[in-house]
């Protein structure tokens, strides 16, 4: 009797999304390892690494929506807003690393909240296209804005940390560690969230929104909530990228940026928080190698990789690590 009860409890807890705490144990060691490694690698790799981690954060946000069956083709909107928030803070003389990251999230929260009221009413292709439209709207605005440097964008003031100015490799290392820390915190919280009742609604909603409504809850509210959380994480990512590269331009809102985020989510898979990071690392590797091999055709190589992946590993690279029942 006892064993059947235990079995049942396991059945309740277990999900075919396999998003529970298994794998959580890996999070802290992996990110700690990254921090340690940052002391032994050259500066260029640190800035590439920070961008890779930041991009993974944006992908993590997208994964929240993918679980609910929604594909946003407009995460570039928040990526770019996060980046430009750094520029805006420059205007008021704020260059602190922590404030910049939080500022990116805050600006995205302020924008995503009202935009979410409109987007949450749409599903499928309409959701994808409408989110794309919003990001291209921002792109269009920025390109025409002289204050924000039009198509050239502008350089950001070097980042400070709690009042201390940093430079060169030390600055890049601090930004990288900040990216890793933000990544770890977001992973831990998201992973925990996937295990809660609310966190389990998304895949249920993907299956049947009518039942959610009849269980006394609003699918719209859940989508709005997850959309906003995703925007905040993408905002963090944008701010980190702005600091790591030291430059921002409207390209961050261009559809190819959003496309890359979707690409990485497909590449990595969306069944574990770490899939976003695995996908982002592989994406950066393919990018680097492809540029090195044939500078003009890296999108072609990327396309071939995606094609191969969809044929061979439709659930993404992370499925290689999933224990099969």
């Amino acid at each position: 009797m006892m064993s059947s009860k235990t079995h049942l409890a396991a059945a309740v807890v277990q999900s075919n999304w396999k998003l529970g705490h298994q794998g959580d144990r890996l999070l802290v060691p992996i990110f700690a390892g990254l921090v340690v490694a940052s002391f032994f690698v050259p500066a260029w790799l640190l800035s590439n690494g920070a961008v890779t981690l930041a991009r993974a954060l944006a992908v993590l946000g997208l994964i929240l929506m993918l679980r609910a069956g929604l594909v946003s083709f407009g995460q570039g909107l928040y990526f770019c807003l996060g980046g430009y928030s750094v520029g805006m803070l420059d205007l008021v003389g704020v260059s602190d690393l922590v404030l910049r990251i939080l500022g990116g999230g805050a600006l995205c929260f302020v924008v995503a909240l009202p935009v979410g009221f409109l987007l949450r009413r749409y599903r499928g292709l309409f959701f994808a296209m409408l989110s794309l439209a919003f990001s291209m709207l921002l792109f269009g605005l920025l390109v025409r804005s002289q204050t924000f440097g039009s198509t050239d964008g502008f350089n950001v003031v070097p980042t400070t940390l709690f009042g201390a100015s940093l430079a060169g490799q030390q600055l890049q290392r601090v930004i990288f560690i900040a990216a890793a820390t933000t990544g770890l915190i977001c992973c831990l919280l998201t992973s925990r969230y996937f295990d809660t009742v609310v966190g389990r609604i998304a895949p249920a909603l993907k299956d049947n929104e009518v039942r959610i409504e009849y269980l006394g809850h609003s699918g719209l509210a859940l989508i709005h909530f997850e959309y906003t959380i995703a925007a905040i994480m993408t905002g963090f990512a944008g701010a980190i990228v702005a600091m790591a590269i030291g430059h921002i331009d409207p390209e961050m809102a261009y559809w190819t940026t959003s496309g890359d985020i979707v690409f990485i989510a497909i590449l990595g898979g969306h069944t574990h928080v770490l899939a976003a990071f695995l996908g982002s690392v592989v994406f950066e590797l393919v990018h680097t190698v492809a540029l090195w091999l044939t500078p003009g055709t890296w999108r072609l190589i990327l396309g071939a990789v995606l094609l191969l992946l969809i044929l061979k590993l439709p659930e993404g690279l992370w499925s290689l690590f999933r224990r099969r029942a």
Partner: protein
């Protein structure tokens, strides 16, 4: 006189030129098991959709326990204690039966703090086990709904509707799509599962034989109107019911010796 759980007051619903439900007035006393019969297109499902707020009536009002619930959303009405099952089960097909129940149970708790707790929180798991047990779904627990036969899906649909411990449960054709010989077994399981939970039931069905076995009162719909309302015998004796609903040749099984 038992106070009514639900009163429908002059409910009508028009879809363009079609009158799907035409001035229906009825009252369901607490604890009653009420059958609603009628041919396809008689307005039964539209009526259920209106009670639960999915479709708004063109005119008339619904009163639940003395409170006007007309115009409220399905989720508000669910929170007030009216839940339903569907002719085509509305469950989460790609999730396991246990997960379906756990999500339903989690959402039924109405506490924001509980919503942000682990789905596998021990007291919730215990609750889920009890529901699975009550609805004879335990052996399906770790199977995805896609792998289930229709009867089990129907049971799951009803079990999910019951997680809120509603005061009024609406069953919309719970036996449709289930093999004829399984129908009574399924309904026996359903009524055994909800027995003792103090729930009033409105049971929509077009098979009179099934209705007659479980309900104490029958309401017959025809072209959106209530044409008969009473005990099974009374309704079956009604001329219009014999003409339009059960058919002139209908004889209850067992009386046809």
């Amino acid at each position: 006189m038992i106070p009514p759980i639900l009163e429908a007051r002059g409910i009508s619903r028009r879809f363009g030129g079609l009158v799907a439900v035409d001035n229906v007035t009825m009252s369901i006393p607490a604890g009653q098991i009420l059958g609603v019969i009628g041919a396809n297109g008689a307005g039964k499902t539209t009526f259920v959709n209106m009670v639960t707020g999915w479709t708004q009536p063109s005119s008339g009002s619904f009163v639940l326990n003395g409170r006007d619930i007309t115009g409220l959303s399905p989720r508000t009405i669910a929170r007030l204690g009216v839940t339903r099952s569907f002719q085509i089960p509305q469950v989460f097909l790609n999730l396991t039966v246990a997960e379906n129940i756990a999500i339903a149970q989690g959402l039924a708790e109405n506490s924001v703090a509980r919503l942000f707790q682990s789905i596998g929180e021990p007291s919730r798991v215990l609750g889920c086990e009890a529901i699975l047990d009550r609805f004879s779904l335990t052996h399906w627990a770790d199977r995805r709904v896609l792998e289930l036969p229709q009867g089990a899906r129907k049971l799951l649909d009803i079990a999910m509707a019951m997680t809120r411990r509603p005061m009024l449960l609406l069953l919309d054709e719970p036996t449709s799509g289930v093999a004829r010989e399984e129908k009574f077994k399924l309904m026996d399981q359903v009524f055994a599962a909800i027995a003792g939970l103090q729930v009033t039931v409105l049971f929509v069905e077009h098979d009179m034989e099934i209705v007659a076995r479980y309900v104490s009162r029958v309401v017959a719909f025809f072209q959106g109107r209530v044409i008969a309302d009473g005990s099974c015998d009374e309704v079956l004796a009604h001329e219009e019911v014999r003409e339009h609903v059960v058919g002139r040749t209908w004889v209850q099984r067992g009386t046809n010796a």
